[in-house]
């Protein structure tokens, strides 16, 4: 806390004080800092010295500690002791054992000396201890602890501090003196300036500040003096102005007083004339006058208010010379340019452009005119005149203008008030007697004022009663008030607002309201006022009309038919929504169009007449197409009439899109034709079974025309024993709502019958009751025939499988027998048993052929196939039958030259043709004609459907026809069955046609037969044509004699008989033969004799190890070994496997020696 207020001190004192303080602080700083700094430095030095002593000692005692050389340690102490400040030295080893120590007088060493690791200063700063480790070759051996006395240091520091303290005090004292002297020296000019300023402020403005220096203070003194000089000058001027102004103010004050009084008087003035008199009186008091005029100026015209002239020394109101007239030139000048003072010269009369008033003989010598203004607008002219010369001065004019300005607003106000009063009365009467309710309402919606009509509308007896009502008494919905106020506040006004209010009796009244807001200066609504009109009657009428119109509109718009109303000029005046949908145009677009715009030019030829007829009162139904907006056309039917609206004729047209109707009609026609187009008989009957519909296919199928059967019962029209027997079942099914389908034999009109697939379905009404039946029937004769063919083929295949099995076993039986013949032939020679042998061989061969035929039938017995030309085979057959058939059989042929080749077994095809020819011969025991044909045939889709085995493509058709006995129909299905024959016992095997069938089927073809008892039969063989060139001519084989000498053959067969016979047969031809009973034995035998064995003949079907496995094993052992496979009946897959394995030949049992020799010869190339 400062015990005095420094602000009250003088500048010199402040400056001296501040400088002293600063110096004091510096002194204190010096006194504190430097001794401290000195002490720190000394302490650092002491610490460094102690450290160095310790380090040196540690260095010296390192080895001594290591070697327990205490002498050296003590010697080291001696060096350290040269430091007089040394208090103690301690050398201790690593374990802390003191090895040597030295301590000066008055020093007792204790644990505290050795226990502290870091360097430190003792508490009382008596000594400084430093310790360093004793290192010897990097290993710490112990520690050296040095204690250095700080006594000398402290004393030194103390003395230094004292010196510095004295110095600081000295500096401080000197500083004070200097501060005082400096502050005095600096502040004296300022003080002088301040003193001068005081004198001047005391009033002695003549005083000036001494300019005793050239520095800033001196400059300030000079500037101060200049300022004072200026001030003196200004003061003098100011005084004169003040005096002047004072007089002016005094004058103005007096004038203001007068004006104030005038203002009060004017406030009480009721009329402009009263106000004018007051002004004139004031002017008189201010200036004195002999004449005074006050005129209003409004809208370019002068309206006198007051005209006073002094006539015979009496002030008299005189009439104005200008009333509602444009201002004079002088007036105009005053209005435009402002106040004017005119001082006439003596003897000067009235100016020419002045209209005198009052005493017209005596012109005024001094005149003053001042415009009276309201704001910037001149509202009048104030004029005072005096008969005296130079009665007025310029100041007077100013005063007059002031008076005019002061009074201008008041005058206008008075005038306005007067006008307002007049106007107010006028409008009050208007409001009061207005035929509409006029009212004001506040922002809360309540009525604050209203006229009588308002109260009458709402059923109140008086306005006062109405005003007392709250909003809930006026509005059915209080929100209506808030909405209205909101509209008014936002928009400032509301027009034609219809609101439902409540009358006094609570009944509703519709009012139409127009209101606006009364706003304050910030354009905020203060309240609202407006007009209301009772529109309840009109509302009722509107409601009724609205309902009527709505009803009519609903009918108009809701009509599904388009309605167009057009004027006499064909322009649309009204259209409904359906019209828009029909045409695609919007209402607005249609209303800008005319009737012809909706039609093409081509349709408008007869429009004018059409229009005239309608407008003439005729109603016309028509059909035409309308062009929609999108360009499409729509077929439309129209109903056009004339109507009157408000006495004016219009064309009224309803239109309907007839597209759907036409479509429906077309659809019906189409459906009818559709039913006629189907290839099924569609017959519809009514509930009683009478025919109501008979399509064209029914006519074709049954032979009855529609007219013949319509109305007849179905059973009568289509007799059917099956139908009659099933009628009950069918009826029951239909009555239950179900359908019936099945096969039955039906009769045509001509009595013929055919199998038909019939499907009967009920026709039900919406309620589910049966109202009729529809029957669909189709001829299934062909399907039945195909089914028969299929069953026949299945039967043949089963028989073939059975026969094949039997044939296979027979082959095994015949095989050895046939091989034996060759052996026996050589032994028998030409003896008597040769014939027997030949007969036996012949029979055996026959047996083989029979078996082959059975196999052919069963498996097709695929032989060698290749491209062959059937015409060659036919020619060959023709050659044979020409030579061998009876002469009473005529043989004809018709062979196409460009027959395509076949991929077939020539032998088999030969067999087929021969069999058929033989059959044909047998069918003509009394002779006849046998015809062979060969032609191309193309199987198409239709043919394919009728023949189960036919495939689309090219075929060669071989036809063998006879004119024999024919084949009875009851057996024709069985002629291809094996062993089926009509010939007597022993005259046929019954395998011929079955073989034909099997071979043809195996070649991918098919056979059909047509036969008529007593007229003959025709067999047609269809064989698939091979695409390509005619096959080359095949060379005939040449017989070769084989000799197997030098070759050893291994024969493998599980049947001993076959093995032995084959062996003997081969030995006959010079082979050496080894045998094996199965595949395993064969492998063993081959491995033992592989060098000798040239070929292996092996049966394929063997137990344990079959021929395929044996072949595989032998191939591994000897890849080039010749192998011949033998089997009675090999599946095709086995054949492929053996061929892929590279067997040299595959022989079918039973085979001849020649077959075997040829195969071996080909394989061994011998």
């Amino acid at each position: 806390m400062i015990p005095f207020n420094i602000r009250h001190l003088g500048l010199r004192t402040k400056l001296a004080l501040i400088v002293s303080v600063i110096i004091g602080l510096i002194s204190i700083f010096i006194f504190v800092y430097f001794p401290q700094r000195h002490r720190e430095q000394e302490m650092e030095g002491t610490a460094a010295r102690a450290k160095s002593i310790a380090v040196m000692t540690a260095f010296n005692v390192g080895a001594a500690i290591l070697f327990d050389d205490t002498t050296t340690i003590h010697e080291a102490f001696g060096a350290a002791r040269e430091n007089k400040d040394l208090m103690y030295i301690i050398v201790q080893d690593k374990q802390g054992v003191i090895l040597a120590s030295y301590s000066g007088d008055k020093v007792s060493l204790g644990h505290s000396h050795v226990s502290v690791a870091e360097d430190f200063i003792s508490e009382e700063e008596e000594f400084y201890q430093s310790s360093v480790p004793v290192l010897h070759r990097g290993e710490e051996l112990g520690k050296v602890i040095i204690g250095i006395s700080l006594q000398q240091l402290n004393e030194e520091v103390r003395s230094v501090r004292m010196a510095i303290g004295a110095l600081s005090a000295l500096i401080f004292l000197a500083g004070i003196v200097i501060a005082y002297w400096t502050s005095t020296w600096i502040t004296t000019p300022l003080r002088l300036i301040a003193h001068t300023a005081q004198q001047i402020s005391a009033g002695d403005i003549s005083k000036r500040a001494p300019e005793i220096s050239q520095d800033e203070v001196g400059k300030m003194a000079r500037a101060f003096n200049v300022m004072v000089d200026n001030l003196e000058t200004v003061n003098r001027e100011l005084e004169s102005r003040v005096r002047e102004r004072t007089s002016q103010l005094q004058f103005q004050s007096e004038r203001l007083a007068v004006f104030s009084q005038t203002g009060q008087a004017l406030n009480s003035a009721a009329t402009p004339l009263d106000a004018a008199r007051i002004i004139a009186d004031v002017a008189d008091r201010l200036f004195g006058w002999d004449a005074c005029t006050i005129d209003y100026y409004s809208h370019g015209s002068i309206f006198p208010v007051l005209n006073i002239d002094t006539i015979n020394d009496v002030r008299t109101d005189v009439p104005a010379t200008l009333v509602n007239r444009p201002p004079t030139e002088r007036m105009q000048r005053i209005i435009e340019k402002g106040a004017e003072i005119i001082c006439r010269a003596p003897g000067e009369g009235f100016p020419r452009n002045v209209v005198p008033f009052g005493d017209t003989q005596r012109p005024s010598m001094s005149l003053m005119f001042a415009p009276i203004k309201s704001g910037e607008k001149v509202t009048g002219i104030l004029s005072i005149q005096s008969y005296r010369q130079d009665a007025y001065k310029d100041d007077d004019l100013k005063t007059l203008q002031s008076l005019a300005d002061y009074c201008g607003g008041a005058l206008e106000r008075i005038q306005n008030t007067d006008a307002l009063r007049t106007s107010e009365k006028k409008y009050r009467d208007i409001v009061e007697f207005a035929p509409v309710g006029i009212y004001q309402f506040g922002k809360d919606g309540t009525i604050v004022s209203a006229n009588s009509e308002m109260s009458r509308i709402l059923g109140y007896s008086s306005v006062e009663e109405l005003i007392r009502c709250g909003m809930e008494q006026l509005y059915f919905d209080v929100n209506d008030s808030e909405r209205l106020i909101d509209i008014l506040e936002r928009n400032g006004s509301a027009q034609n607002v219809e609101i439902r209010w409540k009358k006094k009796d609570g009944s509703p009244v519709w009012i139409e309201l127009a209101s606006h807001a009364i706003e304050d200066e910030q354009e905020k609504a203060l309240c609202f006022e407006g007009f209301v009109k009772d529109i309840s009657p009109r509302k009722k009428a509107d409601e009724a009309l609205k309902e009527s119109l709505a009803f009519q509109r609903a009918i108009f718009e809701g009509s599904r038919d388009a309605v167009f109303i057009a004027a006499d000029n064909s322009a649309f005046v009204s259209v409904n929504e359906a019209a828009c949908q029909l045409t695609g145009y919007s209402k607005e677009e249609l209303l800008s169009m005319r009737i012809p715009d909706l039609h093409d030019e081509a349709d408008l030829d007869a429009y004018d007449q059409f229009h005239d007829r309608i407008m003439g009162g005729e109603q016309i139904l028509s059909e035409a197409s309308i062009r929609r907006k999108d360009g499409t056309k729509v077929e439309t039917e129209f109903n056009n009439t004339r109507i009157f609206i408000g006495g004016v004729p219009f064309m009224h047209t309803t239109a309907r899109d007839s597209t759907e109707r036409q479509k429906a009609q077309s659809h019906i026609v189409f459906q009818a034709r559709l039913l006629d187009a189907v290839e099924e008989a569609v017959i519809a009957t009514d509930h009683d079974g009478r025919i109501v519909f008979w399509n064209s296919f029914a006519r074709k199928l049954y032979g009855w025309e529609e007219a013949d059967v319509l109305g007849k019962n179905l059973i009568e029209a289509i007799p059917s024993p099956d139908g009659r027997s099933r009628a009950g079942e069918i009826a029951k099914r239909l009555l239950s709502g179900g359908s019936w389908s099945g096969e039955m034999v039906v009769h045509r009109r001509d009595g013929t019958s055919f199998p038909a697939q019939v499907a009967d379905s009920p026709i039900l009404e919406e309620g589910g009751g049966l109202i009729g039946m529809v029957s669909v029937s189709v001829d299934i004769s062909e399907r039945k025939a195909l089914e028969t063919q299929f069953l026949r083929a299945q039967r043949l295949e089963s028989l073939g499988t059975l026969a094949g099995g039997i044939a296979h076993d027979l082959n095994n039986v015949l095989g050895p027998i046939m091989l034996t013949f060759d052996i026996l032939r050589q032994d028998i020679g030409e003896g008597k048993y040769k014939k027997l042998l030949e007969n036996a061989e012949s029979s055996t061969l026959r047996g083989k052929n029979i078996v082959s035929q059975i196999l052919m039938f069963a498996r097709g017995n695929q032989g060698e196939r290749g491209p062959i030309q059937s015409k060659h085979i036919i020619k060959e057959v023709l050659g044979i039958i020409g030579e061998t058939f009876p002469r009473n059989i005529e043989i004809k042929s018709d062979i196409l030259k460009d027959l395509p080749p076949l991929n077939a077994d020539a032998t088999q095809i030969h067999q087929v043709i021969m069999n058929l020819c033989v059959n044909a011969r047998d069918a003509m025991p009394n002779g006849g004609v046998l015809t062979l044909k060969a032609q191309n045939f193309e199987v198409d889709e239709q043919f394919e459907k009728l023949h189960i085995s036919a495939k689309r493509g090219r075929y060669v058709l071989l036809s063998i026809s006879d004119t024999g006995t024919g084949i009875p129909s009851e057996i024709i299905d069985r002629i291809f069955d094996p062993f089926f024959t009509t010939k007597g016992a022993g005259k046929g095997t019954g395998l011929g046609l079955s073989t034909v069938h099997a071979v043809v089927k195996n070649h991918g073809g098919f056979v059909d037969v047509k036969s008529e008892p007593e007229h003959g039969s025709t067999f047609r063989v269809f064989l698939p044509a091979l695409e390509g060139d005619e096959p080359p001519f095949q060379r005939k084989e040449v017989e070769i004699e084989w000799n197997g000498k030098g070759h050893t053959i291994l024969v493998v067969d599980d049947e001993e008989t076959v093995r032995e016979v084959t062996k003997q047969s081969l030995e006959t031809f010079g082979y050496e033969v080894l045998t094996a009973e199965d595949g395993v034995a064969a492998v063993v035998n081959f491995s033992l004799n592989r060098e000798r064995i040239s070929a292996v003949v092996t049966d394929v079907m063997m137990p344990l190890m079959d021929g395929i496995a044996l072949t595989r094993a032998l191939r591994r052992m000897e890849p080039n070994l010749k192998i011949i496979a033998v089997s009675g009946m090999l599946p095709e897959s086995y054949v492929h496997i053996l061929e892929n394995m590279g067997v040299d030949a595959i022989l079918s049992k039973p085979f001849t020696s020649r077959d075997l020799m040829k195969a071996l010869g080909d394989a061994l190339l011998i």
Binding site: G62, A63, L66, F67, D69, T71, T72
Partner: protein, 194 residues
């Protein structure tokens, strides 16, 4: 026929005994002296200045007895070299006295004069060094040798070569037993064998 085996057995016995003796006696085989004699002598002079016992004794002259074997050439040679070095070095305060020792060493006690303060051990063959060291310890005589192995065997001070420079070897226990008080400064620069 029996004599030869007898002679053989005798010889064998002798050899066995000698072997045992060798094993028991810690025989000192002849060793190399790596540092030249003059350098050894100079180092001995310097080293003795670090021996406070010597300085305490105040002796002006240091008498060094050179122990050698006249039967062993190397010993004699080294002895002669050392004498020559002593004479050439002009070290007035060192006086050399050769002391011949027999094979058993039993004449050593009587051969070493009382004024000898240092025994300089030459390379010896088949000699029990303990005879010398026990004498030196009893009589507080410092033993010095140029054979570095002898230091390990109990001689107090010896010399070897390290990095082609002579290295002082001090058997500190032996030295202290012989009354030497070497300064740690010397010990610091020597190789001290504890």
């Amino acid at each position: 026929m029996n004599a030869i085996p007898t002679l053989r057995s005798s010889v064998l016995k002798v050899v066995a005994m000698l072997s045992i003796m060798v094993a028991l006696m810690q025989p000192v085989e002849a060793q190399e002296v790596l540092v030249p004699s003059n350098i050894q002598l100079a180092l001995v002079d310097k080293i003795l200045s670090f021996d406070r016992a010597v300085s305490r004794s105040g002796d002006q002259v240091i008498v060094i007895g050179i122990v050698y074997q006249k039967e062993y050439r190397k010993s004699v040679t080294e002895k002669d070299d050392l004498l020559k070095a002593s004479e050439a070095g002009g070290r007035g305060r060192i006086q050399m006295i050769p002391i011949e020792v027999n094979g058993s060493g039993d004449n050593l006690q009587s051969s070493v004069p009382d004024e000898v303060t240092v025994l300089y051990v030459m390379p010896l063959r088949w000699f029990n060094l303990d005879i010398i060291t026990s004498l030196s310890r009893s009589r507080r005589i410092l033993t010095v040798t140029g054979v570095s192995e002898y230091v390990h065997a109990g001689v107090a001070l010896g010399f070897s070569v390290k990095d082609e420079r002579p290295q002082i070897l001090i058997n500190l226990r032996a030295a202290r037993a012989e009354g030497a008080d070497f300064s740690s400064k010397l010990l610091n620069i020597a190789k001290v064998i504890q």
